[in-house]
């Protein structure tokens, strides 16, 4: 059964709450450093954080790139709308 451990001055639950910003690299340097030190000493958070990050990476691997398809349909719609003005 999981417990909320405090390692490097931060609890697992707080690490969990900051995972999104950690994955996005959006944390300030102090917090980032604190989380990294927590991860070094916490196997749960290392494993879970790794899976969490991998899931976000998998989701984003399907991120749409610039599409240049079917501009005719778009142009037709624009013309139809402009004609109705």
């Amino acid at each position: 059964m999981a417990e909320d451990r405090e390692i490097a001055g931060i609890r697992c639950m707080q690490v969990l709450e900051k995972l999104d910003d950690y994955v996005d690299g959006a944390l300030d340097a102090t917090t980032q450093d604190q989380i990294e030190r927590h991860l070094e000493g916490c196997d749960w958070c290392t494993k879970f954080g790794g899976e969490y990050g991998a899931l976000v990476t998998t989701l984003r691997s399907g991120l749409k790139s610039a599409a240049q398809a079917d501009t005719d349909k778009a142009r037709d719609l624009a013309s139809a709308l402009l004609a109705r003005k």
Partner: protein
Amino acid sequence: MSTRPTDAQGDDELLRRYASGDDDAFTEFVVRHHESVVAWVTRRIGSRPEVDDIVQETFMSVMSSASNFEGSSTARAWVYGIARNRIARQFRRRTAEPATFESLGELGLRAGWGDPEVEASRAESIAEVHRALKRLPDDAREIIELRDLEGFSNPEVAQILEMNVPAVKSRLHRARLALMAELNSEVADG
């Protein structure tokens, strides 16, 4: 953080030019966004005849309010917000807060946090992840689609969903945990 297929400044410029009488700028704007709006509306409501109507109404609304666009976020997020309102109007979707109040700790446990039985670095295929995504409640699925599949930033998602950024981050975090939990249950079910 993610890069957009079309540059935001160009979008603002097109709306400004259209507002001052340049119809070609509107056409260019539609060409830039039409396909992704069609794909997103289809993802939201499925492949139905209403998709075309909603897309058409969305760009009609863009046309009539181009001069009011203030660039509070990005034009692309603004267009998605309009499309989302059209969908809500058509299908009377409730956009209320989710009714479940599972604590973050409980949600984390279901997602496999602190569970020694969960296999290390189990890699899910994109297909598995998308199947699990389809089983999430609509509000959770929607925020993951916007943030991770469409690549919108947190402030852009906030504009589309008419929420503040902290609320977006909180809902996104819960949605991703729920997705992990769903993937875990898929494994448990065989």
